[in-house]
């Protein structure tokens, strides 16, 4: 039921650095096992009659074997370049289902099924360097003596009401002085 608990967890990988130069199909051998008479092998027999030759032509890298055996449930065995081997039952499959499942097992890389921990893998995690809190910071910080009074202050300090009032009074004083000065000047001119 909860297959995610039992399937091993892993990071994405591909055997033999596949795809760096060119892509190589990882399925090396396929063995179709079927019965010549029983009804459950009917789909696989249809597939062999109609589509098997075109399949073999499309995939020159894989060897296809046929293995008739009397009164046994049909299945196919997929063997990969990395030595993995999987048996897939094709009991009561139609020819279309055969095509579908065979295609799936040819496009696989042969690495056993796993839960992917990440959807990305790289050998070169960072090119511009890993970011830290000190990147692009002022180098003067390197020679600062700690504890420093400047850096211990809060980043943004709000003015208190008293300070604001004092500021307003000071402003008014200055403007009053200005007025006085202008009056004096005017008086002198008079």
């Amino acid at each position: 039921m909860s297959s995610s608990r039992f399937t091993p967890r892993g990071f994405p990988r591909v055997p033999l650095q596949n795809g760096i130069g060119r892509y190589i199909c990882q399925l090396k051998r396929v063995t179709l096992r079927f019965c010549k008479s029983s009804g459950s092998s009917r789909g696989i027999r249809d597939f062999i009659e109609t589509d098997l030759i075109s399949y073999a032509q499309e995939h020159p890298g894989t060897a296809v074997y046929l293995k008739p055996r009397r009164h046994k449930s049909p299945s196919f065995v997929a063997e990969y370049l990395n030595g993995e081997r999987e048996v897939i039952s094709c009991h009561n499959f139609t020819a279309q289902e055969m095509i579908k499942w065979l295609n799936l097992y040819t496009t696989r890389s042969g690495i056993p099924l796993m839960r992917y921990a990440k959807m990305w893998h790289t050998d070169c995690p960072s090119i511009q360097g890993v970011w830290s809190p000190f990147t692009n910071k002022d180098p003067a910080l390197n020679i600062t003596q700690f504890p420093s009074k400047e850096l211990s202050k809060p980043v943004w300090e709000e003015k208190s009401a008293t300070e604001e009032l004092l500021e307003m009074i000071n402003k008014q004083k200055i403007s009053d002085e200005n007025d006085d000065d202008t009056q004096k000047v005017q008086a002198a001119q008079m």
Partner: protein
Amino acid sequence: MLCNKLLNLVSKTVQIVPTNRIAAAASSLSVRSFSTPVSQEYVVDNTIAHKKFSDGIIQTVNEAVKTNNRLFAVVHICGKQFKVTDNDLVLIDGYWPPNVGDRIKLQKVLLVGGKDFTLIGRPVLDPDTVEVTATVVDKDLSHTRTNFERIKRKQYMRINFVRKEITMLRINSVFITQNIDNRKDVQEMGRRVM
């Protein structure tokens, strides 16, 4: 360094003069303003300096591209964004048509960077300038995931088992093919003309 230059430029172009300094001498009436302090801006025409500045940057980047050996790119594939470099593996979840062995040119490149420069697309970079190629390496089904839904107090429970398609992409190369300022007047993006 570059940042400082930019800041200098900005401070040169726009000179902000607070109005209270202008108004202080003129009016003795202290008018209380409840809104944010209004400041007046004098915009200096500095297009030539701007051009010179940007040309310098473009030239340094072009030189950096020539000496750089490894680039990275942020590409948008199938609704998701990945940061990729050469020989990376990228997994795509769900149905995606390309088949195994196909060589693909990824055209939605949002960002390209080297050791000491970064080009950012608005939103994508020119597909003639940047080339990101990839090969489809593996097409598989994921492990069986359980979709379980339940509505409390409503006697509703469904359990579904799902195996989604998973496509593995190998990034082959990330290149900048031409000078970054070499741009056409009319850009073509796939079927779109911009």
